[in-house]
Amino acid sequence: MRILLKEGRVVSPANRIDRVMDILIEDGEIKEMGEIQCENCRVYNLERKVVFPGLIDMHVHFREPGREDAESIDSGADAAAKGGFVAVAMMPNTNPPIDDPLRVRFVVEKSRSAKVFIFPVGALTKGRKGQELAELYLMAREGAVAFSDDGSPVENSLVLRRGLEYLLAIDLPYLSHAEDLQLSQEGLVNESPFTARLGLRGRPWVSEAVGVSRDVLLAEFTGAKVHIQHVSSRRALDIIKEAKDRGVKVTCEVTPHHLFLDERVLESFDPNFKMNPPLRTPEDREALLRGVKDGTVDVIATDHAPHSWDDKEVEFDAAPFGVVGLETAVSLVWDRLVHRRVISPKRFAELLSVNPARILGLRGFGIIEKGYPAHITVVDPKKEVTVDRESFASRSRNTPFHGWRLKGAPVLTIVEGEVVHSAI
């Protein structure tokens, strides 16, 4: 089946394209770009819509194996497709964790029937325990695109040093959930005057900043590629910016919830606002927005963390950390940043496609170009949506954005030439 995308505004910064044109897709590839007529093509009229290289969410948690009731690989992929993503990087904190080649292969095999590409991230250490290195090379050979111990940051700095050095020979990045767990003292929310009123145990910004400092310095020392996940505080971002200015190979991401929410929503004690890192102060949020604008922030990633409703609908202490994000991210970023002219569509493409593809080394992603695989996301800038958790394709509903009205929505997702989501 040949597909013709007609008269969309194509924005592909990797090859400096930003203009209205047609795209012909055949056999999973982009066959032609320009002004195209086609007889027996399925035609999508994309006038006044924006065509991006397929978006990539480089930070998701699917719960297979272990908690398929909250999210399976398939249901997660469905959510991704619906949210406008053609690929995701799946974190290894499953049960059992993805820490050996066989388990990487399990994810790869399971993904074959999924709607979008699922790139497994392997654990850096066995069992994500931070003690012995996992089989990084063998996992890479099976398809791991990066390594991370995820929510359990490697506490022992020597183990991390060895891991980063070892990765030099594999040339894949380390994704760092940077946090000093001692300073975090199992806090539930940001530590601040505001949350102290609520009597909720705090996780201060300094625990993130100390973790980021160490990991950035080890990146500098070893020369390894380090990507800091979900930066949430102003000071942590300052440290990253300073390191980048010095030429350290460090990149970073922020999440939509840290960009568009702050700790003041916690007054409701709603566990749908409980995540790690926690929502911080309005000043931190402003700093993250500045970072998105000025280029310090490389990527917007969701940290999609599905939890069953039963697990979340409990007292605040007992609720697990995390919120879903795949089906709200594009509309949020479009409405709050592109629509309000904080960033351009070009920057949108960099944050959500070009940079994640580059950081993870995903060949054939992050670009719309003749001869390349047809991974495409189309956004309708005028479409208004109301976030409704009941309509999610994800098996979980733990969103902090339920009921938000947003302008701009993903309306067409194409993976290797196949339409996996269409709302046109």
């Binding site: 005057p193 039963d310 609908e313 007292e315 202490d317």
Partner: protein, 303 residues
């Protein structure tokens, strides 16, 4: 008023109303027959997930003196967490047609969580380190009876502010009533960012006590030593125990309060605990009266 969840979100007029009604109930408890039919036919559940003798009995007596039926449900969080969820527990109790639920639980925000699915009125009897509104109300009634007013006073709260729901509720209440509040204790238990609160912080207790009208001493939990908040009991006692000598720094008619249970010889010296300046047992009496006021205002219709 449908629920009582926190002092922070209770308007000053509400607080004054509760205290006014509480004053009238004081008299009932002093009668030979201590019972009025205000809540006849109503069912009150005491749902306690933390050990408590004083607060639970105070609520129970308050409800009984108003002729309500009272049921006590005590459980530990760990035992409940393994099986039935809190929500299911509460829904089951509610299915027996309860009118009001008094809840104590170690998780902040629990009382509010109940209001998201309960049809009964909810009274917060202490939710983690968040709030303990009826304690603040009984403290206020005690001060009001002793001083004749709640404004223009200097109130000093001493001890483990960080972990104390009583400190939070008292702070908001006295601030709302236009009294000034000073927090005193070691910085590990009053982190510097508490300066954003409507209170002054003074790590030097002697200085904090100067000119005080009311001194509220908090209970020191022994596990704070293990948490690295304090080096030793001895050092805490030296610096923050309210002794007879230190009491001399306050106004001559200053009163000493404590939410109980007291650690004699730790936060309070024996002489101070037993002195005429101590109104700790007075607080207990006022506790029944304000809880009667809260229950009747929440359930008595015209509230």
């Amino acid at each position: 008023m449908r629920h009582l969840l926190s002092i922070e979100e209770t308007p000053r007029e509400e607080i004054e109303r509760i205290l006014e009604v509480g004053r009238t109930f004081l008299e009932i408890s002093r009668r030979p027959i201590k019972k009025v039919p205000v809540l006849r036919g109503k069912t009150v559940v005491n749902l306690f997930f933390e050990p408590s003798t004083r607060t639970r009995s105070s609520f129970e007596i308050a409800a009984k003196r108003l002729s309500a039926d009272v049921m006590n449900f005590s459980a530990s969080v760990s035992s409940v967490r393994k099986g039935e969820s809190l929500k299911d527990t509460v829904l089951n109790l509610e299915a027996m047609k309860t009118d009001l639920i008094v809840i104590r639980h170690p998780s902040p925000g629990v009382a509010r969580f109940l209001t998201t699915f309960c049809s009964s009125s909810v009274v917060n009897a202490g939710d983690g380190a968040h709030e303990h509104p009826t304690q603040a109300l009984l403290d206020a009634l005690t001060v009001l009876e002793q001083k004749g007013r709640l404004d223009g006073l200097k109130v000093v709260i001493v001890g483990d502010i960080l972990h104390s729901r009583v400190a939070r509720s008292d702070l908001f209440l006295f601030h709302k009533m236009d009294s000034s509040v000073v927090l005193s204790g070691p910085p590990t238990l009053i982190p510097p960012y508490f300066e954003a609160w409507p209170a002054e912080i003074d790590y030097d207790l002697d200085r904090a006590l100067e000119g005080a009208d009311v001194v509220i001493m908090l209970r020191l939990q022994m596990e704070r030593m293990k948490g690295g908040f304090l080096p030793s009991l001895r050092e805490y006692r030296e610096r923050y125990q309210l002794t007879k000598g230190r009491l001399g720094l306050t106004k001559p008619d200053a009163i000493v309060m404590h939410p109980g249970p007291i650690n004699r010889g730790i936060e309070l010296s024996h002489e101070v605990a037993d002195s005429s300046r101590s109104v700790i047992l007075d607080q207990v009496e006022k506790g029944v009266a304000v809880r009667m006021a809260v229950l009747s205002l929440l359930l008595g219709g015209e509230a």
